[in-house]
Symmetry: C2
Subunit: 186 residues, 2 copies
Amino acid sequence: MKHALNRGETPFRRHNNPFIRKPKQKGPFMTTKAFQDFYPDDYSHCYGCGRLNPHGLQIKSVWDKDESVCHFTPQPYHMAIPGYVYGGLIASLIDCHGTGTAAAAAYREAGRPMDSQPPIRFVTASLKVDYLRPTPIDATLQLRGKVKELKGRKVVVTVDLIAKDEVCARGEVIAVQLPKSMMMSG
Amino acid sequence: MKHALNRGETPFRRHNNPFIRKPKQKGPFMTTKAFQDFYPDDYSHCYGCGRLNPHGLQIKSVWDKDESVCHFTPQPYHMAIPGYVYGGLIASLIDCHGTGTAAAAAYREAGRPMDSQPPIRFVTASLKVDYLRPTPIDATLQLRGKVKELKGRKVVVTVDLIAKDEVCARGEVIAVQLPKSMMMSG
């Protein structure tokens, strides 16, 4: 059903209106579980993204169409100087959101749901972060990832880190599928 | 006094022999205080390197001749997968050791001791980390920084991260002097 815009209502506001039914996602990727929720227990201790690491950041990433998205609210102590987020946290978020996106993209490429066996896990070969402007600490940070390249065991993901509607940092993660020598039982 | 090598003794082993007196360092840089100990209070809350951040990593960097050095022992929860260090921690250490080295190099270039006014502080414009091999978590990590370029307000520092005598990660930090708009009283 076509939905007419009311006066003063923008398409953006419609998009966020909880009373308007969204089209259903199709296929095996229809999920509200985060990528990280599918990681086998043995791979769920990472400080950045492991759901079983009580000290860690426990980030959660999901698909938003062709982009992956993650929201993270920094703690007051995650500061660089008062008012701004510490660059190491930004690098950490980009790193783990990047490898999570790489894994999800590899499952998608293989036409496999993320809870199928054997598990596909990625590690970071290279991480690059450009800090474009200071990142305010009193905001929920949004990370948006895009798969730039997927070739064999290598996936390149670019990630924008957004705070208060501004891109504050931009990263690139070169992720490689975890070698067998480092694989655990799963 | 020239010191003869004993049979089987390499110059490298001599260098690390605590019984051989090392030449004294000269000038205003002869210090055992870390770079971060000189940061003004207002700049000492960084999660990575602020001595006043009780939640943070509180790294300490010093000169070792022309290289800067920092030792850090990861906590068990700083893991990626069991046995190995989380890449975000590695990025964080390289970041803060890099900006600390940049500041120390700028003071040195200006012929100023690090407790002189006004303070010189750097932020990260760009961070690149290559993860060369998995970093074992049951080791004290050594970071060794080198100033690759020092030009105006920009300093480029390369950092090797070493564990168990192997370079596990290699980073490059492009640091820029903190703009006046972000400077505090000091």
